[in-house]
């Protein structure tokens, strides 16, 4: 709450003026949070661009005679940064060099493909956030969800359609169990969910590694830690034909976003979860069971992360490896953070991060800029999102100057 609303909460006699003022303030902060996210991204991109320019070979060469011809250095910097970002754009959104329209739009479909697990796991983290829980465990929930989905995918043999449904259900169940356990332990013992989820991430990782060492989970005639490929009937159908990797898992992600939005804003369960998250004491006083809320939200959060694991196995990877979750579980936290824990915010943040991932590869291959720069940009975004007080301070100062 900004300083100008502070007196409003303590003042009764002069109620009307501060009330109206404060209501306006609230709208401003809502707009402000979205704006802050955008600002964080833009600032991170600018700083990332500087970093690209500084590490560029040609820039360093031109810097050698900077004082003779400073323009050379600056133009080299511009070329390095803009070239890298252009390549990233080509890899993530639209490739103007594509032979056909389909070719040109291929990068965009790649972005959405990569974004699918990020959105799903991000929703899981965001939902838990809204109930006041810091779910660091998306990684483990993805892994367990993927494992169960893969197992149903390669060991059960069901008719098309039914098989995919079973796989999705299994993935959701796996994640839900892994998340629900956290909720249950927290509700029963009061243990902190951060510790629990971190530890369960390790448990999940080692569990999967162990499972993949069992013959039943390995490919016939191979001792590599790779599961058999799931049946064709267990795979998400391609959304835009076989030319593209984009699969129906993305539709699941969109539906999940809609469902989470409904749950949070329009359902009694969501009302309870938000109350528990915003003020557990008031929720308890109003007869809402806080502990039950913890269990419910962790079940749902785990389920969403489990769906992310399903999207990996049944969407792009075909089989289970211990690296199936990549770093989606951790990126999901930053996605939820950037999305301000709102369903649609998380959705678009997931797509942005999908674009970074998809575009980063192209950037490295086209311009030789190290893909790690993408990580730096992502990290900077988190840093700036996590520093709203700084940004708030800056904007307030500028407002004061303007006034």
């Amino acid at each position: 709450m900004s300083a100008s609303t502070a007196p409003a909460t303590t003042d009764q006699v002069s109620a009307p003026p501060p009330t109206e003022l404060a209501a306006g303030d609230h709208r401003r902060t809502l707009l402000g949070t979205a704006l802050q996210s955008v600002l964080a991204v833009v600032t991170a991109l600018i700083l990332g661009g500087l970093l690209i320019a500084i590490t560029d070979e040609k820039v360093r060469h031109a810097a050698g005679y900077f004082f003779a011809r400073p323009g050379d250095t600056l133009s080299a910097m511009w070329h390095a940064a803009s070239g890298a970002y252009a390549a990233m754009f080509h890899g993530a959104v639209y490739n103007p060099d594509g032979a056909t329209v389909a070719d040109s739009l291929y990068p965009l479909t790649e972005t959405l493909t990569v974004a699918t697990p990020l959105i799903l796991a991000g929703l899981g983290v965001a939902l838990a956030f809204r109930a006041g829980l810091f779910n660091i465990g998306a990684q483990g929930q993805i892994l367990i969800g993927a494992t169960l989905a893969a197992w149903v995918g390669f060991s059960w043999h069901l008719p098309a359609g039914l098989h995919l449904l079973a796989v999705v259900a299994a993935g959701a169940l796996g994640g839900a169990v892994w998340g629900g356990v956290v909720g249950l332990i927290k509700a029963r013992t009061g243990a902190h969910e951060v510790i629990l989820t971190i530890m369960l991430n390790y448990v999940a990782l080692n569990l999967v590694a162990w499972l993949l060492s069992l013959p039943g989970f390995q490919r016939e005639g191979s001792s590599n830690p790779v599961s058999p490929a799931v049946d064709g009937t267990a795979m998400f159908p391609k959304l835009l034909g076989d030319h593209f990797r984009l699969h129906w898992g993305f539709v699941v992600a969109v539906l999940a976003t809609v469902a989470v939005a409904w749950l949070l804003e329009r359902s009694t369960v969501g009302f309870e979860l938000r109350a528990v998250g915003a003020n557990p004491r008031a929720a308890r006083t109003a007869g809402i069971s806080v502990t039950r809320g913890f269990v419910v939200v962790m079940l749902l959060a785990g389920m969403l992360a489990g769906l992310a694991g399903t999207a990996q196995v049944a969407g792009t990877e075909h089989s289970l490896t211990s690296g199936i979750a990549a770093s989606f579980g951790f990126d999901a936290i930053t996605v939820a953070l950037l999305g301000r824990s709102t369903p649609w915010g998380t959705f678009f943040a997931g797509i942005l991060y999908g674009a970074f991932r998809a575009g980063g590869v192209t950037m490295q291959s086209m311009t030789g800029t190290n893909i790690d720069i993408v990580l730096v940009v992502q990290s900077l975004i988190v840093l700036f999102v996590a520093l709203p007080p700084l940004i708030t301070f800056a904007t307030r100062r500028s407002q004061e100057v303007a006034a």
């Binding site: 709450m1 300083a3 100008s4 609303t5 502070a6 007196p7 409003a8 909460t9 303590t10 003042d11 009764q12 006699v13 002069s14 109620a15 009307p16 003026p17 501060p18 009330t19 109206e20 003022l21 404060a22 209501a23 303030d25 609230h26 409904w262 329009r266 359902s267 009694t268 369960v269 009302f271 938000r274 109350a275 915003a278 003020n279 004491r281 008031a282 929720a283 308890r284 006083t285 109003a286 007869g287 809402i288 069971s289």
Partner: protein, 567 residues
Amino acid sequence: MQLKLTDVTKRFGDFTANNRVSLTVEPHQIHCLLGENGAGKSTLMNVLYGLYEPTSGTVEINGAPAHFSGPGDAMAAGIGMVHQHFMLVPVFTVAENVALGHESTRGMALDLNSTRARIREISDRFGFAVDPDAVVEDLPVGVQQRVEIIKALVRDAEVLILDEPTAVLTPRETDELLQIMRQLRDNGTSIVFISHKLREVRAVSDVITVIRRGEVVGRVGPETATDELAALMVGRDVSLTVAKEPSLATGAALEVRDLTVLGDNGVVLLDGVDLDVAPGEILAVAGVQGNGQTELTRALVGLEKRVSGSVRLAGRELTGLRTREVLAHGVGFVPEDRSTDGLVDSFSVAENLVLDRYRERGFAAGPSLRRRAIAEHARSEVGEYDIRAGSVDSPVATLSGGNQQKVVIARELGRPLKLFVASQPTRGVDVGSIEFIHRRIVAERDRGTAVLIVSTELDEVYALADRIAVFFHGRLMGIVGPETPRGALGRMMAGEPADAVLPPAPWDGSRSGHGDTGGPTAHDLVPSDAAPQPGSRPSHPGANVPASPRDLATEPSDDRPEGNRTA
């Protein structure tokens, strides 16, 4: 030292907390700043203490302009402040707390001896009876407050600002504090006394400056009548009493038997309490905070974990039920602290108005909320309870305290009740809203609901009560009639049982076999001036009790044979 404020204005954004306030604090004077919560008293003092910078206006000390950029400057200039919430480190000793920030050292070692000596000197001079080596958390609240005063005096404060100092004190401690204030004044310290309690203000002040809506609306002497002061504070004539008929209640809707609550650490917070509340009766629980009243209300609605004994409402056992089930049995509950327990700040007014009702058929269809119905409900409640909100979709945090409290009250009174439990129903609420809330509570009583009110404000207790229960250290000291004088209640709040405080009634013996304790039922007693007064204020103990005219209205009757119990 003379302290002079001239045309001090403080704005927060568009909101003016202080508007051209001028006042002069002379030496040897207790200058009272009287005003409602939110009138701008604390803002003004924070300006004076260097915590806020005034938007315009000047502060002068002994005729020279002073400019404080922080409390350090103010302290250096001889201004000391005792905050409403103490700024003490609980695990430190008195001496350590007093030295904190001004430690004298010998080499690397802390030298507390000089501080100890100073504390003893001040303590002896004013009769504080403070041991410099006592650990602060072990001290009673009243003594902790003296430590705060010592802190200021050690730093040679010539002007002492006391911000709502009596809010946390028992009546006896309050009287002692007032005595200390007089002594300090006689020794030359100027005192700025911030309060909204008329009785104390009149008892101790030399000059009273009344502030309303951030402006000075009057400068009067202590001889000004209570109702005149109240009128100045609120800008119109208010009756501090609520017009209500005497209760004709019989029987018991709520029966509490041997209710005991243990804290997490096993400490007994509520100790074997027996009480009844009849349908259509208001039982007001008086007592200084922290004597078990909070636990009583929380235990009634199933919020306490370690509870034994029995709570029956209309014959149904409530202990062991979950809060949701208790509320569903027709219990309305207004928690003591609305911001932590009563409201979800970030939720809209409409959402808060259904915080414990969102599952009702009218507001939910299966798993989905009927948002339109919730909004419509909110609009009607906002109209009915005169809740001033930008819109029903505004977060409740943007409302003023009084309006927030109305949201809670509206929610809890908005459904059919058998029992209404309210803790501090009007805390931090302006007088206009207090009147309104009181009327609502009485109306609920008249509908036949059993009402249990917990309040630390005696005025509120007197205004509402059909009977008064007093708690001390988790035990019920007794239940007495509304005509019981203030002094007697004060002694009960300090731990004396009702039968020790009130003289026995001549017909007491005839009732000894009637109740389960046989103790004197104070309800039957005529108010008596004979009750000895701790701290002996010269005035009649009931003189400022606005409720006293009603004493006659509820004279002894035998209509509550069940209700009058003493612990």
